[in-house]
Amino acid sequence: MTELNSQHLRHYPNKPKQVYLYGTCLADVLFPDSGIDAIEFLEQQGIDVIFPQGQTCCGQPAYNSGYQQQAKSVALQQIAQFPLDIPIVIISGSCGGMMRHHYPELLKGEPGIEAFCERIFEFTEFLVHVLKIKLTDNGEPEKVAMHTSCAARREMGVHITGASLINQLDNVELVIHKQEKECCGFGGTFAVKHGDISAAMVADKSASLVDADVVRFVSADWGCLMNINGALEYQKQPLRGEHIASYLLARTAGKKAGETDNDS
């Protein structure tokens, strides 16, 4: 089963000259390399990338906690940062789901809201459906697993686009881990409000990734990566997940993951 749903179906534009990048708040302070890698990767495809400095957070944390007004004012601040009619590429599936599928309701009645949401593309979705990218793998043979965040999977279809990108890499074998479709237990404030349940979920998710016997796993969502990597590190497991933008940049450049030219 492909598990496409109606939320995944949309019209895709032709390859643009310019895009905006939405970096997300987590990548901003915790994992900026993946933002830089995404920009480099897009530039290699001949696309100019604009990163509006006024962007902050999509508003999802407040939205999911029931604080609609607080989420709304932050969401409006984001929209104002992206005035040009060009695609907005987001390096996180769940923030993408928020901006594409939840903004219409949160910001109902705001002028231009539908058109704004139509411009939202998750990174892997953009590569596959807009750029129709063909990847050349210059890396060593290896096995990887993939974890898609639940919003990325159900709202943005990243399980399809992410896997299709990994499958384009000739030397990479994508291993499907047990309970592959299951949530890692992050869920934003859920991980703190219901820490015991979240702990049980991430224990199972990390165990099934370890069982998959891969050298690394990739994901398009930093919330899940922070959760699963944090658990793996705590368990003293060597396995780590990395962002798919960094991974694709490294593979196509023929470098080992984690060796991209970032000045930090």
Binding site: D28, A62, G187
Partner: protein, 488 residues
């Protein structure tokens, strides 16, 4: 095995207290490795069964859309259809009773039983009777009530509640059931063979059916057009409970009404495949009349009790009304990563799992159930499998909003609205919002945070109980990009 139980305080459901204990329940049940293994195995099995019964995505999607519309049409006309159901049932000779509260329902049932001098009651599976705590109520009045569904029978023997709406004893494995039978059933020849265990249960139940004065069952679909009560089951106990005793009392929620007889086949197909992966159940009963003069069996009297118990609160709100589309298949719990880990009892409510989190606030109020809407990662698995497309994650978000809003005291407000609002949390979100809507403030804050990264404690409360603390980057993405490309 009749046990006299202290009658619960009738002004509040006994489940309000157990729902309030959600966090303690979770801690206890997460620590029970055997329980977790029982749920994990059973849920994997049920998910695979469901998936195998829907080989075509397109057919499934078409059927889900069709059934969603059937239920939405019924809800749109709910008051009219309930009246029509009542008049058609009455024309068929079935008595109809309306119960606004669980106490009303229990009183009505007890009165019917008393009027027939009933003492021995058998019950088919009915989650609504769990809602009303009917067994406790009748026990307290010296009536013997025996659960006749095998899972319910096990649960009753163990003095427990169902942990799943379709498979009430799914939390127990065969060894635990064998031990339970060994403890409670005289002359039980110890075995862990599932068929033998079921045979043993059936032997006892068969005798009880023959001597029961009153049978109580639930209803899956109540057809307004024809005045027909449909009962879906696998063990024949529903048929025995509704056909053998002289009096049959059916108890159900007002949302079970459907408009037309032709609405039933698609709903039935979707229900059984979503629930257990079966093309159809072993038994499907359609009850239209009491025993007629030319008939050899069947009850002389049939009653239907229609319960509200908070459903009309959900009905009054267009978004929350979708909660009432539920056909009680249990697929949402089978696919829920939270349910799979904590099991059904931890919720403390009659209905566990995702559907329980969105229906229980109407039955028990948002104060008693305040921990339920937040106990979800909003992964969306429930909404993805729901046969009637209830947007469960969306409704969970809505209930979160309702439970933290400023209590206005308006009569339209949900019961318990605002009861989970904490001043500290509200202030944190205000500050969060202020920072994130002012870009200069945001960038300054993040600049400071990354500069002070060395001061970030390695222990971050519950997060670092099972994870290492994340490390802040030396410079933010904003800064690095600014350094990388000229500002423009």
């Amino acid at each position: 095995m009749t046990v006299k139980i202290q009658e619960p305080e009738q002004s509040e459901s006994k489940y309000a207290e157990t729902a309030r204990a959600f966090r303690q329940n979770v801690k206890k049940d997460l620590a029970n490795a055997e329980l977790r293994e029982n749920f994990h195995g059973a849920m994997n099995y049920l998910m695979a069964k469901r998936a195998a019964s829907f080989p075509s995505d397109d057919e499934l999607e078409t059927l889900r859309n069709q059934c969603k519309l059937i239920k939405q049409r019924a809800l749109l006309k709910l008051p009219y259809l309930l009246e029509k159901l009542e008049s058609n049932l009455q024309a068929n000779g079935i008595h109809v009773h309306w119960a606004e509260t669980i106490t009303d329902a229990n009183e009505i049932i007890a009165q019917v039983i008393t009027s027939k001098n009933g003492k021995h009651i058998v019950k088919g599976k009915s989650m609504v009777s769990e809602e009303t705590a009917l067994n406790d109520y009748l026990h307290a009045r010296d009536m013997e009530i025996l659960e006749s569904d095998m899972g319910e029978y096990i649960v009753q023997l163990a003095h427990e509640h169902p942990s799943h709406i379709i498979m009430p004893a799914i939390h127990q494995n065969k060894k635990q059931v064998a031990d339970l039978f060994d403890k409670h059933i005289d002359g039980f020849d110890y075995t862990t063979d599932v068929d033998a265990l079921i045979g043993e249960g059936r032997r006892i139940l068969r005798d009880k059916f023959c001597h029961a004065d009153v049978g109580i069952t639930g209803v899956n679909f109540a057809v307004a057009e024809t005045g027909t009560l449909c009962l879906v089951e696998n063990e024949g106990n529903g048929q025995m409970s509704s056909a053998v005793p002289n009096v049959h009392i059916a108890l159900t929620g007002i949302e079970k009404v459907v408009e037309l007889l032709e609405d039933v086949p698609p709903l039935l197909s979707l229900l059984t495949r979503s629930a257990t992966g079966q093309a159809i159940t072993t038994y499907f009963n359609m009850i239209t009349k009491p025993r007629q003069s030319d008939e050899k069996d069947g009850p002389e009297e049939v009653h239907l009790v229609l319960l509200d118990n908070g459903r009309s609160q959900a009905f009054a709100d267009e978004e929350l009304r979708q909660t009432l589309q539920c056909i009680r298949c249990g697929a949402c719990m089978n696919h829920c990563p939270v349910y799979t880990r904590i099991g059904g009892h931890a919720y403390g409510t009659v209905y566990p799992g995702p559907i329980g989190k969105i229906i229980s606030p109407h039955m028990l109020g948002l104060e008693a159930t305040k921990d339920l809407p937040t106990a979800s990662s909003l992964c969306g698995a429930c909404g993805e499998v729901c046969p009637v497309k209830i947007p469960i994650p969306k409704i969970l978000q809505r209930l979160r909003t309702e439970s933290v809003k400023v209590h206005s005291g308006s009569p339209d407000e949900l019961k318990g609205a605002g009861s989970n609002r904490k001043p500290m949390e509200a202030t944190i979100w205000k500050i969060w919002s202020f920072i994130h809507k002012h870009q200069g403030m945001y960038r300054f804050s993040m600049w400071v945070a990354t500069r002070l990264r060395g001061l970030l404690p390695s222990k971050l409360g519950v997060w670092t109980q099972v994870r290492s603390a994340p490390q802040l980057a030396p410079k933010t993405l904003h800064e690095r990009i600014q350094a990388r490309q000229p500002r423009g």
